[in-house]
Amino acid sequence: MTARDEVLARIRYALSAPADPVDPPRDYRRTGEHAPGAPQLLQLLTERLTDYKATVHSATPQTLGSVLATALHGTHRVVVPPGLPEEWMPASAVVDDGDLSYADLDTVDAVLTACVAAAADTGTIVLDAAADQGRRAITLIPDRHVCVVRAAQVVQSVPELLTRADPRRPLTFISGPSATSDIELQRVEGVHGPRNLIVVILND
């Protein structure tokens, strides 16, 4: 008997004793009281992200250029995914064609991406490796991550957030910069992931 067959046989044997499963109740809150992109949600997202030590800017299509310049201040080389909107592209952009080595990525100063969705309740942004976000390594190795969130991408609750992500794609949920509570359970920000997370909320 293979291990597979044996483990499955064991499970079936164990379950021959009666179990009375119920259909999971779904009466918890699944949708927020605010529609995606509502000003209250942008406000809440800002508060939550700030609470976990991310920096948050808001921008309009008109001010985006200068806001991004502020967010990228002091950087020389900024890696960007191949599908980043042309108008967001900084002068110092290094477009990732998939050939940059990890060592290369370790020498760039920042990464600039879009995202697929964000949840205000928890201050979470989601990347799904689409063309405007790039492969996962580029948002991981550089020490500063500047992420543009479009207002319409902002939902309120975690259940709403999950409906906007495709679980068959590589997903990264990000809630603030890298952190640890491993020393005396005190939270300190900045360990292995990007130590600076700058979120730009774009009211377009």
């Binding site: 293979t2 918890y28 020393i183 360990v191």
Partner: protein, 488 residues
Amino acid sequence: MSKVFVGMPAHAPAGVGALHASESFPAAARTALADTQLRRNLGAATTTIRAKREAVVGELADWEQLRLAGQAIKAATMARLDEHLIRLEEEVTKRGGVVHWARDAAEANRIVTGLIQATGADEVIKVKSMVTQEIGLNEALAEAGIAAWETDLAELIVQLGHDKPSHILVPAIHRNRAEIREIFLREMPGVEASLADEPQELAMAARAHLRRKFLTAKVAVSGANFAIAETGTLVVVESEGNGRMCLTLPDTLITVMGIEKVIPSWTDLEVFLQLLPRSSTGERMNPYTSMWAGITEGDGPQEFHLVLLDNGRTAVLADEVGREALHCIRCSACLNVCPVYERTGGHAYGSVYPGPIGAVLTPLLTGVLENPSLPYASTLCGACFDACPVRIDIPSILVHLRARSTEQTRKPPSAEAIAMTLASWVMSSPRLFGWAGRAMRAGRLLARRGRIRRLPPPLSAWTAARDAPSPPRQTFRQWWRHRDGGTP
């Protein structure tokens, strides 16, 4: 279980892994209780995390509904565990992953070792994972000449300190900043003596120490918090980014997961992603959650192996009361609220799973006679049940395991068993009980000024620290019989 038949649920075998305690809980606890540094560290840390958890749980008006949903999803999953695992296997395979099955720790260790050897690597980076601790993977790899680098800060502290984990979430909770600084100075190459004992600086030292490993490692080993059957998606919840590094950068990823970690659908995850971070680190959401399904061309590891592990889980599933312990999502909220854990720490439990959940899960996995003192390592105060995000009724399982323990013991009856049988006999008879109550008056001979300062064994354990009350002249029932107007 003395003899195991093919296809019968089996307990986790002894001799491999970290489930079998080498001494009894009371004995190990005695040592821990005397460690004042440990007591102080644990007291401070659990107090901090309790307050944080309470604050973020209080933010959710639907917390109880989420707990009920979490409990029900897990129960429904277990009821069709075989089907969900088969679906998971199908989906992972469809997306380019390879699924392996392991009956026990030794088999899982063999599989993982073989997979690493096939890549030609002699070292791996690891994301913190309870299950690889449980099966003793690092030791097995070391025997095969493969170095395993723990990358979670707390695991790193434990590994560098040649120590054992003492908490599910924060394995180095028993260490304070000064001790961690000392470990880093001693064990971490290139650390300057000027290293301060500030958590921020210590975290930076770990970053510098592991950076090169992350960028050059060829193979990573991880656990999984959840695996979604209908999509083949694996989920790892973390904070530091070491998880992202391990899950993204190496060419080969090997994920070991207990079979109970599967959940049926993507929708189910919305419940656990709310329950887990608030219960474990006391955050609304942990900084990073990584999810992947099989392999993605041009992004992340191009070789993915999933090892599905039994190692006693089917034996837990066969226990109608105990199977609820398989619902555990390893948040460690029960540890943080447990008054016993807070004082003894995790090492006293002798297993990789400490605290209230460990006191049930460990003996369920190994068979209760392998860890007979663990079900008794609780006052049954119930704080763990209230804190559990998936409503595992730990006190009831403890009581259930205590019964299993006394019923399975084949030795001649202990003094305790004889006393309990005798007491049951006396207490079943009002007349005998009345006599016994009056006979207790003899205890008054031991009393001075209304209290008894010393009793013979086994009651001497009581009077070592507490007075015992002097039996009254009259029991209540005697008083009742004599009182004016008392009705019989």
